[in-house]
Subunit: 235 residues, 2 copies
DNA sequence: GTCTATAATGGGATAGAC
DNA sequence: GTCTATCCCATTATAGAC
């Protein structure tokens, strides 16, 4: 994958990919992918036209077809682009959490944190591209799960979830296996909803809380969802 | 509002839509609304064409324009149709919960139950129309919050949420006001996600749990989310 | 690789007969 | 209220010059 991912599109003047102060201007392919990612993440697959994308990217319409083929293919490529890095980040995070020693509570919180922080970090601190990507994933989770191009991604993500669930299960041998699934499901549901950046919380709290304050959200989630698990313990 | 709502596109007698075994065939307007509701709830506003809707409803394309005007207008009417009944159901449910006496835990659970059960009931037991409607609302909450036709609905729903949050606050004078908002936000996020009927849980639990089993979900949610609140109590 | 031009289709919307 | 026919534009997609 030749696109610069980790550091965000990092544009500059000059075209034809000449180096400007050490950075390369984004290639056309990257510009199209970035634009598509941003737009799809806000209005969904059907809510965006290839003209919208070309305009947003500042390139000719035909170039999208030249580089990516059909609209569906482009969408698939947008998903694919950051999928592997995203997955590996979560896996590394889990491995680290498994090293944490301490009480059941401490280890449970470590694993929950390991699940939510990589995503929140990317959304918050890895630049606009990652922020859009995370929003796109969250939106897809709520929506077009059954599309063909999602099959590969889903499979890989489900595998990841299984690893987290297993880790929680290992800490909680006293818990019913299904209940661990339930708890993790509720956690996923909440983070998915939060990452679409709805303005709901802002409105409903009359401005005192902001859904965009993801660091605070992370704190509150840890408290709340760790306590949620404990609801199933006294059995 | 002349469409039959409470009992699902069913009952009544005649008119030019012939009686069939004691039931009146649904009017064209109702057929169009039902079809639009079903399709919008699955593929979103942009993912459905008026031709799709007309075909699904088994009516001529032009009739949609005759009865409802533009596509946006139709969408708005679909939202409107069940909005008032939905809201009143939730309000009545809250009033009943406020009568519950007992420990803090008992009263908290009563209020949480009052929030989730009317929606789950409608989705589960009021017929396909309501099921689709609930899914549509959940999808909108994740998506097109900023569309014009949502403004009225949003305002009314936010008011309702405020009543629930206030009720929880009254039970928990020891809790920080913001934290009550957080807890309720997490609850909303989860139920919203669940009601789009994702197949996620089914897959991830390898078939042992089904997201379509809403009665079981309700039980698990009560345990989990009530316990989540208690995470903020020991402060 | 990038551009212009255009084909081909789909879909929102309307006119007008019945 | 319902139907047929049609307008008209946006959109997907491609051909072909540069």
């Amino acid at each position: 994958m030749e696109d610069n991912l980790k550091k965000e599109a990092a544009p500059s003047l000059k075209t034809k990919n000449q180096k400007v102060d050490g950075r390369r201007a984004p290639k056309t392919k990257t510009k199209i992918l970035d634009a598509a990612e941003a737009l799809f993440s806000r209005r969904g697959f059907y809510g965006v036209s290839l003209r919208d994308i070309a305009a947003e990217a500042g390139v000719q319409l035909a170039l999208s077809y030249y580089h990516f083929g059909s609209k569906e293919d482009l969408f698939g490529r947008v998903i694919e682009r950051r999928a592997e890095e995203n997955k590996q980040g979560l896996q590394a995070s889990l491995q680290e959490a498994l090293l944490v020693k301490g009480s059941q509570d401490v280890r449970r919180i470590a694993i929950i944190r390991a699940f939510i922080m990589p995503t929140i970090d990317k959304s918050l601190r890895f630049g606009t591209g990652w922020k859009n990507y995370i929003r796109l994933l969250a939106q897809i989770a709520n929506f077009a799960q059954d599309e063909d191009y999602m099959a590969i991604y889903r499979k890989s993500f489900d595998q990841l979830v299984a690893e987290f669930v297993q880790a929680l299960q290992d800490i909680h041998p006293e818990m019913n296996e299904d209940d661990v699934h339930w708890c993790f499901f509720f956690l996923q549901a909440a983070i998915t909803h939060i990452l679409v950046e709805s303005t709901m919380l802002d409105r409903q709290s009359r401005g005192r809380i902001h859904a965009s304050d993801l660091d605070l959200i992370a704190d509150k989630m840890l408290v709340f969802f760790s306590a949620g698990f404990s609801g199933f313990q006294r059995k």
